[in-house]
Structures are given as structure tokens and as C-alpha cells.
Symmetry: C2
Subunit: 402 residues, 2 copies
């Protein structure tokens, strides 16, 4: 059996994602599609709109055969580490193909970019270093350095546009694959419809970005427009989550937990939080005293030097107790955490049972594995914030779908 | 000018406390009465019913001339350390008399007990040590060891009954005075009315315990019975606090903050909290996952080995971020934190201005003093739990009364 891998968040799963899953199967000719999915906290440093088990079920109903959880350590991390964790898991699952969404759907520009940045590695890194020192954010420095290297090299082939979030991730998947398992072949499909951050959407297209869907559902409920943009099971899952939890996951519901944590810890202890950078801990500690809401807090904390996303990730680490030491120690995936599978997915795993590169974890018992413990801790905090009962990782078996 | 000192919590201030203040002035012949008062968290490991500034004002209106805050480090600590902190502050304030409430109002039994335990120190400590090893709580061991030493010594003079909370504190004040400033003379007055824990009270006596008052106010509001048991200004202060904060201070209002802190920190980090004892961190971490309320949580955590009070103090340290290291480093008072004074109090402080044993802090600026920082942190957490704005220590000048 041949498997193709996708790396996803499904926050929530919409028609664009269904298209991605279908196309992945079609263009790779895979027998099963393996999704590596973030858990209850996401790469942009936000609590998931609905929980990981609900989202795993949506994935299985929409074309995925196996859903593995991307451990917190990689899910809430910058693009390169996010990609390394995800590709590490797919490689351990004996998956030789990956397929990601990109702006224009061609893989060549990514290959060209990869080659260019490998050839020019020293110059590129020096330029990134120089730019970061001028006070701009790291992602801006990456993208500016890339542009200047591309200009200087004056390559004839088309290059990937690394100002687009999806392209950045795709580039990092390919880069990670090259170092972890060069046998992995990369495919890409073009995004249909709106860009990541467009809140507005063509109401007739049946395509809305996940951001636009969350915004619409939060403010106006599951409108007709939303219903056109998501599969029925997503609409039902959102409805059920709202009924069970009195709302959705989002920073607004975690602010009353995060704020006392910040005030209790103070700048001195915040200094040891993962990804915290010199000085930011003071801004965070000060801002927490006065801010009445998460948004007002963020407005006070943000600076030109740090992206909004970066700050949100740091705050997620504060919330979930991820220290710098622990973060730096946990560099590689340690298990395949099964959130759900179809019958085909089960056959696949049975076939490779003894050949998987990492232990398969389908039921979580009490464990001393520090990576798994951090996943469980994040789940428990998510439960507290969304009014759920903690300990769900111990109680919840993998979702089984037909 | 001569000063007499009292050590108080006023949670809240009632007629028994007014009597204590009046009698202190009368029997000591002091010109001013100095109250050393716990801040927003109390010796039993509980958030105060109303905040420290409100309580300081009540003290000044009821007969105290100066109110110093007992730093968190001593306020939320076992009786011996509570007493050492308080007496250290009174000694630094050049106060040569103290007066505490006791069961029968005679000072002789305390002197006898002090002498006995000094004479029999080695035997007493060995017996305490032996008893603790049998698995009973530390306070029980102290009191059993005391009884057995008293029996063995068969002294003719009356001894203090160290099973009563007020007597225990009184004993420790005298013991602390002996080591810190032997020139301090101790006085005691008998308690009028109910014992510390009696929830019921004679409705006509005008005396209810602070515990009974809180219980009545929480469940039935400021009833006629409560009105008879407290000065008018206490009734008004409670009313105002409730209006401003939508309720009173108490663990029920802090559970939604404490629980995520426990879940986030986990047993590994809880181990470093002040007063945490081997193994208890696991009970606490486990119980937090399932407990729907603070009371149910406490019922799950408590064991024969630890008193309820001890566990609550540890939880207060979790809430307020007091580590064992910090707790152990901060052994002695470092300042006189002025919460309020009368005109006479001001004259007294002016007179001793340059002769005080510790710096007088009447306005808190940003400070690096670790003891003061822990007081401010506790205040900020109290503010968050009671729906107030943190940073109140920086904004609030000492209360001035006539």
C-alpha cells in the first residue's frame, strides 16, 4: 500500500481542504492519505476552534485515512520546526509522498528555490542575520534576504513566492524532506479561492478561508454562507462543540487563565518560557496588569520586532507550561500518536506494523515521555479553557471511521 | 510616646477586636496602638474576605493608630514564623509592649509554658520528631509532645492550653519576643464570647467569631445578627466591597485561577513550591484534573498527615508564586509597610523617624526587594480573583484617619 501525507490544522475543515485531500489521492495515486494534524493549539499560537478529536473525525470523513497528532512541540513552533516535526512523522509512517497547497500549484518553483538557497546558503544566512539586526521581524528578514539573493543570482527559472504563508510552509516541508528522507516526493496543488487572511469571500464560490469561517461563526453563527463553504459534518461538529462548550476555542476564552499565570510568574519566570526573547517578558508582565481583554493586551505587547504570531506562540507556551529547556531538548518526534483511522488506514498500519520508524501510540496511559506529557498538558489546559473535563487524552480512543 | 502592639488579621473586624484594641490601650497605658496586620492572604491559607486597605481603615477607626502590613512571607506561614515576622516588625517600630487575646486572659501560664519548653527543649523536640514520624500532623505532634512533657515535668504552676489557636499564637509571640527583643513586655486579655471555630453564636451577645460572620454574610447577607456583632464601619466596608467586587474574597472565587495553574505546572514544578512536602504535589496535581470546585478538590487532597490549613497555605503559595527557595531566603522582615495611620500614629512615627529598626515604606514604587515584590504579587493575584485592577499597591496611599 502506498501512502501520501498531508500536514494540516483544519481550523475548521472546509471545502478547500476536501479538495486538497481528494486531489492528493488523485495526483499521487496513493492508497491511503495520512494527515499529520496539530492538536488543540495551532501554529499561529492560538487555541483551536474545535478540539482535536472533532477535527480528526472531520478529516477521516473528508478523505484522510489516518490522522496522527503533530506533537505540541512542533505544532506550536516556527514554520521550519513545524515542518521538521510533520515530515519526521510522515517519514516514520513510511509515507513516500507529500502533497501541500501552494499559491499557483506548481512544484518546480519550490525545487528552484530550494536549490538556490542551498547554493547560496552562506550569503543568504549572512543577509538574514544582518536584516534581523536592523530590528525587523525574523520572517520579514527571511523574505527580504530571499528576494535579494534571488535578485543577485538572477536565475532564469521561476522561484516560489515566499511571502505567502502556504508557500513558506511548502518550502519547509520540502527542505525537511530533503534532510530527513530524501526518497519523499513532493506534490503541490493550487489553492482554490481566497487567500489565507481574506475575511471577505465570494458568497457563491463555496470557498471561504478558515479564518473567515471562524469569524463568521463567532459573530453571526453558522450562516448560509458558512454552510456553503464547509462539508455538512463540519457544520454539525461546530454546532455540537458550541452546545457542549458554550462557545468555541479562542484566546478570548483563555484570557482569564493566561492573565493570572503571567501575573503570578512575573518577568523573572517568564524569561524561561520557550521562544521568549530578551526583553519581551517585561512587556508581557507589564501589559497583563492593565489589559482588560486579550486583544487589548496584544496591542500593548506587540512591536515591530516580533510578529503577532510569534507573540501568540510565546503566550501559548506560557499557558501550556512549555519552558525553553524542554522545548530545546525535544528536537525530534518520538511517537506516532493516532487520533483516528479508517478501515483502509488500519490495514495500512497493520501492514507496516513492525516497520514503522517510531512507536505507535493509540491509547495514552500514564507516561513519562516528556513530549507526550506536554501534549497531554496542552490538552488539559484546552479543556479547562473550553469548560471541558481535563484528562480527555486518557479517556478518548482513536476515532474509527468507515 | 509609648506604643503597644497587636498582631491581627481582621477578617473582618468585629466587636471582639474592638474590645481587644480598647483593652490593649487601657492595660498597657500606651499612647498609640500599632497593629501588624496580614495582607490579602491569611495565616490559614485563605484569601481575605475584604482587601487589606479596607481592613486597615477599619483598624484605624476601631482604636489602632498605625497599621503595618505583615509581609506575605510571614502572614502565610506557620504560627512560629507568623509570630517571628510580626514581632520583628513591632520591635523595629520601637514597640515595647504587645497584647494578644488568649482563652483565659492570664499571662502567667504562658510564662510557665515558655520556661518549661526552654528547660525541656531537647526532650520536647525529640518527642515532636518521634510523633511526626508516626504519621500525624505537625501541629498535633506539637500539642501531644507538649502534653507529655508537661505531664512528665509535673510542674505545679498552671500552663497555657496549647490546643487553642489563640493560645498557640500568643505563645509564639512571647517566644519570638524573647529571642528578638527581650525588653518587650507581653500582656494578654481574655477572649469574650465564642471560640474561633464556633459557627453558631449567641444572637444577643454582640459577639460572633470572624468565621461565623463570614459564613453568615456569604449565605444570608449582612443580617441583624451580624450588624450586632460588628461596628457600623465594618458593615459598611463589607457592603462596599461586595458592590465593587460582586462578592467577597474566598477560595471559591480563586478556584478558576488556581486550577489551571496547578494543571499547567504539574507535579514536577509544584515540588518547588514553598512548604510543599514530599508526595503532596502528586495528590494536588491529580486532584485538580477532576475537581469541579475548591471544596471537592480539598476533600480529595487532604490526608491525616497534613492539616487543612497547611494544605491551604501551600495552595496559596501556588497561587501567589511563592517558591521554596524564595520562602527560605526571606527569613526576616525588611521594611515597615505602612497601610494607614491616625494623627497620633503620624506623631509617633515622626518622633522615631530616624530610630526605626527598618526602613518605613509608605509609598510603593517599583522595587527590587524580593519580599516587597512577593507582597505586591499577592495583591495583584487577589485583585484578579476579586475582579479588581492589579497594581493597587502602586496606586494606593496609606489610609489616613483622624
Amino acid at each position: 500500500m502506498k501512502a501520501a501525507g498531508v500536514v494540516v490544522e483544519y481550523n475548521p475543515l472546509h471545502n478547500g481542504h476536501v479538495h486538497h485531500l481528494k486531489e492528493t489521492r488523485r495526483i499521487t495515486g496513493a492508497d491511503v492519505v495520512i494527515a499529520v494534524m496539530s492538536g488543540n493549539f495551532l501554529q499561529r499560537g492560538e487555541p483551536a476552534f474545535i478540539d482535536k478529536w472533532s477535527r480528526a473525525e472531520l478529516a477521516l470523513r473528508s478523505g484522510a485515512d489516518i490522522v496522527f497528532e503533530l506533537p505540541y512541540r512542533f505544532a506550536v513552533a516556527q514554520a521550519s520546526e513545524f515542518a521538521q516535526g510533520a515530515i519526521g512523522i510522515l517519514a516514520a509512517a513510511r509515507c513516500n509522498m507529500i502533497c501541500f497547497g501552494s499559491e499557483d500549484g506548481r512544484i518546480e518553483p519550490f525545487r528552484n528555490t530550494l536549490r538556490l538557497l542551498e547554493d547560496e546558503e552562506t550569503g543568504y544566512e549572512a543577509e538574514v542575520h544582518r536584516l534581523v539586526k536592523t530590528g525587523i521581524s525574523y520572517p520579514s528578514a527571511l523574505s527580504q534576504a530571499y528576494r535579494s539573493i534571488a535578485d543577485t543570482a538572477a536565475v532564469a527559472e521561476p522561484l516560489a513566492d515566499l511571502t505567502k504563508p502556504n508557500n513558506i510552509l511548502g518550502f519547509h516541508y520540502m527542505k525537511a524532506a530533503r534532510s530527513i528522507e530524501p526518497a519523499i516526493t513532493a506534490f503541490t496543488i493550487g489553492r482554490t479561492g481566497t487567500g489565507y487572511h481574506d475575511l471577505g469571500a465570494d458568497p457563491d464560490s463555496g470557498i471561504m478561508s478558515a479564518t473567515a469561517i471562524r469569524e463568521a461563526v463567532r459573530t453571526a453563527g453558522i450562516t448560509n454562507e458558512v454552510l456553503r463553504a464547509v462539508p455538512d459534518h463540519t457544520a454539525r461538529a461546530m454546532e455540537q462543540f458550541r452546545e457542549a462548550h458554550g462557545g468555541f476555542g479562542g484566546w478570548d476564552r483563555f484570557w482569564h487563565i493566561l492573565r493570572p499565570l503571567i501575573i503570578r510568574d512575573g518577568a523573572v519566570r517568564l524569561r524561561d518560557v520557550a521562544e521568549m526573547t530578551e526583553g519581551l517578558e517585561h512587556r508581557i508582565a507589564r501589559a497583563a496588569l492593565d489589559a482588560p481583554s486579550f486583544m487589548e493586551f496584544m496591542e500593548t505587547v506587540k512591536t515591530k520586532r516580533y510578529t503577532w504570531t510569534r507573540i501568540q506562540r510565546i503566550l501559548t507556551h506560557v499557558l501550556c507550561g512549555m519552558d525553553r529547556d524542554e522545548f530545546n531538548r525535544l528536537r525530534h518526534p518520538r511517537y506516532l500518536r493516532l487520533l483516528g483511522m479508517t478501515a483502509a488506514g488500519r490495514r495500512y498500519l497493520n501492514q507496516y506494523k513492525d516497520g514503522l520508524g517510531l512507536p505507535l501510540v493509540s491509547r495514552v496511559g500514564s507516561s513519562d515521555d516528556p513530549m507526550l506529557k506536554s501534549d497531554i498538558r496542552a490538552s488539559d489546559l484546552y479543556a479547562v479553557g473550553t469548560g471541558d473535563r481535563p484528562g480527555k487524552d486518557f479517556r478518548t480512543p482513536p476515532v474509527m471511521a468507515d
